[in-house]
């Protein structure tokens, strides 16, 4: 926690290239998370020998699309299915794709409701 945390802003197109470099250097995928502000901010976090490196880019609220990194990191399927189920981001090419049924919940994309409804709430 007292280590230096590097948060790097990249473009969505550079994602696959950067992730492949990290995999070659032996970094471990820590998490993939998404924050909903006036747009969607996606964070890919990596760690090696307790050093923390974070890649960040932005997506629009509706109709967001991402390529999957599950060819490089097998374990990313859980995070990418979660991104689809909770935020409505379309991730293409996941190795184990649950098609929206990973989280057995009744509501569609509960964390990224269309703007009018959340303004009322």
């Amino acid at each position: 926690m007292f280590e230096k945390q590097v948060i790097e802003n990249i473009k969505k197109d550079e994602l696959l290239e950067r992730v492949a470099t990290f995999a070659k250097e032996g970094y471990r995928l820590v998490q993939i998370s998404c924050t909903r502000l006036d747009k969607l901010v996606v964070d890919y976090s990596f760690d090696k020998d307790y050093k923390f490196h974070n890649l960040r880019f932005e997506l629009p609220l509706e109709g967001a699309e991402l390529p999957s990194i599950s060819d490089i990191y097998f374990a990313s399927f859980t995070y990418e299915n979660e991104l689809h189920d909770l935020f409505g981001i379309n991730v293409s090419g996941i190795n184990i794709d649950f098609g929206g049924k990973f989280y057995r919940i009744n509501e569609e994309r509960p964390f990224n409701k269309p703007v009018t409804k959340s303004q009322e709430a």
Binding site: M1, T35, K101
Partner: protein, 359 residues
Amino acid sequence: MGQRTVIPFGPHHPVLPEPIHLDLVLEDEVVVEAIPNIGFIHRGLELLCEKKPYQDMVLVAERICGICSLIHGVGFVQGVEQIMDLEVPGRAQFLRVFWSELSRIQSHILWLGLAADAIGFESLFMHSWRVRELVLDIFEETTGGRVIFDAVKVGGIRNDISNDTLARLAKQLDVIESEFKQLSDVFVNDFTITHRWKDVGILTPEDAKALGAVGPMLRASGIASDARMLKYSAYEHLDFEPVVEHGCDCHAKAIVRVREIFQSLDLMRQCIAKMPNGETEVKVKGFPKGEFFSRVEQPRGEVIYYLKGNGTKFLDRFRVRTPTFANVPPLVKTLAGCDLADVPAIVLAIDPCISCTER
């Protein structure tokens, strides 16, 4: 080529403490594939950060899970303190580590009891939980609660423990150690247990690293990685090394947890010896503005919190990635190729805490 059948495992199963669903594809009693499914206990706790002030969110964070409740609170509070640049006094840091290690002992003894129950050794389960009661008594005496403690807050801790109580608790730790030593001997050396757990659920070191395993799953495969080595809180003043085993199977995972209990008892004695005197909290003014990734070691592995504040009393985002969530892909990998009768032992070996996974 045998005939394939699909058997549902869970969400209700005598072995599982919490609901998770696995579709097991079997070929003549050998599991070929396992497909996990979660969401039975999803409460959407992360969204509550937009409705509750950040001081009340500590209470919500502690209630994400019943077994690892205190460390969730510590991780959240550390994140907010780093965003707001608060300097927490030394006594509060040491007491947080004292309670965290006690929480780790409680969680590991709970797991050992459940694992023994899963293979049918019920009397060992009862004895483990009887020893766990001694640990819960210490919690009740110092914080007021047995399972949910409400012990930490932003800026410090809520209750103090006097130095006389600490000296008395040090003797109580010796009682717990001697009671647990008899049981640990059974877990490590007993013929029934080794017969059920040896060479079951093997996770090679390369797979463990590639699939992102954390916690005892990783350390039982020979990789020394422990988030406490980040030296957060009072850990920079304490002396310890990650506990590593090389067996890669369920028995190695059990031995890692048994040795971690003894390591935690030692860390608690170090805490009591080095405890500084002074204040237990610092005044908090203003609201958090900024972001931080807070990493803490839970009994099940490394948990990471992402906190983002925007200058108001509500946080923008509170994201928790718990260790069981990261251990689901290794679980899927270890289940491939095992016998149907070994599935409960392998599922329990990751120490599934599904309330944490689904928040």
